[in-house]
Symmetry: none
Subunit: 224 residues, 2 copies
Amino acid sequence: MSKHTILIIEDEEDLLELLEYHLQKEGYETLGFLSTKNVEKCLEEERVDMLIVDRNLPGAEGSEFVASLRKKGLNQAVIFVTAKNSDMNIEEGFLRGGDDYVTKPYNMKELLLRIKAILARTVPEKNTLLLYRDLSLDLEAHLLHVDSLAVELTKLEFDLLRTLIENKNSVLSRNFLLENVWKNEEFFQDKTVNVAINRLKSKIDPTKEKEYIKSIWGVGYTLC
Amino acid sequence: MSKHTILIIEDEEDLLELLEYHLQKEGYETLGFLSTKNVEKCLEEERVDMLIVDRNLPGAEGSEFVASLRKKGLNQAVIFVTAKNSDMNIEEGFLRGGDDYVTKPYNMKELLLRIKAILARTVPEKNTLLLYRDLSLDLEAHLLHVDSLAVELTKLEFDLLRTLIENKNSVLSRNFLLENVWKNEEFFQDKTVNVAINRLKSKIDPTKEKEYIKSIWGVGYTLC
DNA sequence: TGAAACGATTACAATATGGTAACATAAAAA
DNA sequence: TTTTTATGTTACCATATTGTAATCGTTTCA
């Protein structure tokens, strides 16, 4: 799963760095800005999941800036950060399209928790993609793309390829595969695996140019 | 548009009344409880859009109660209200499925703003249509338009199509559908789904030209 | 080098799964 | 009440999938 990206506008350089440090430690991508300059362009070019905006910015008021972005279709969640904490200002922030409001000095742990809670609500969960070379297996949609070209697999072939990718650094014995893909190793024979592997190979690589699956003599199969 | 309904669990009776008063003044329906007793039953029977929960409840810990509800499938947003404000407790609240955390004594205006912001994110707008290709599902009016032509669906067919559209990027197993559309997966058989899908298909695409619904052999159904 | 063991490939048959129509029953409408 | 509608079940047929066996090719090792 790819990382969430958080765009931050904060004019105090030290604070921006500190915030970016903590967010990156939590596994987020960050895009830091010291002013609203270039932010719009960045939003057009990058996929951004959330914004953290200081209201006190040089030359612009953070919540007004966000309000103008909202008018242009910004849909991502926004957390306002500010030293101001009078009722009036909090209200303005929410009315101009804020999703949360944190006042300085803020507790970093709390801010991180708020970010996490809001992202959980606003960013739709990505489908789990299993990747291997130019293969991309979408477990939800039950879809395989080979070099971004859709290829149809049967349930057995799909499960087999998934097991191979999930264990891409091991050689899988026929017994292991019978246990994990067929679920009943005693009922079938080793040859069954051979044939299934073969069918899978011919679907994901009909011209036999790419050699995804290698057989290890006397041991089993593995991705190579 | 119908009112949003907010369920409140707060053991201080005065505070509960005050909160209900303000929420009602803002146009919300409220369901007040002095303890966790009967809350589960109420959630089963009433449509609730959000919960406000005090963490300090007689005989139960609010966030533990919410965590247990989440396990049973509660999906609505929860705001915790509490006098506690140590980091540790805020963290617990978020980890147990809270969407926001407000400490007493709280500013009523701010709480109302937070409620509004969260509802805007979590409750799908009633008037929005669910769209898929030339299908348009109006959840309020319980109406389907196919290429702007009205088509009548039964409740079951409607729920089925809604579930398919809401999960348009996933293959849905018959069990998933029995759970989510029929609500009682154990009572019915897989074939029931086949027949229902079939009836739905013939209503939305009687000439079988458009192929909205695809069956994935051995897995389930999906929109294509 | 040659035999044995193992893997690849192909064809075929059995099985599992899905589609469809007909029927039965329960719920809603008239 | 009678009639209509909705929906679960069953039966039967069509088709996709997949195990098996037969055959051919390749590797291993004496």
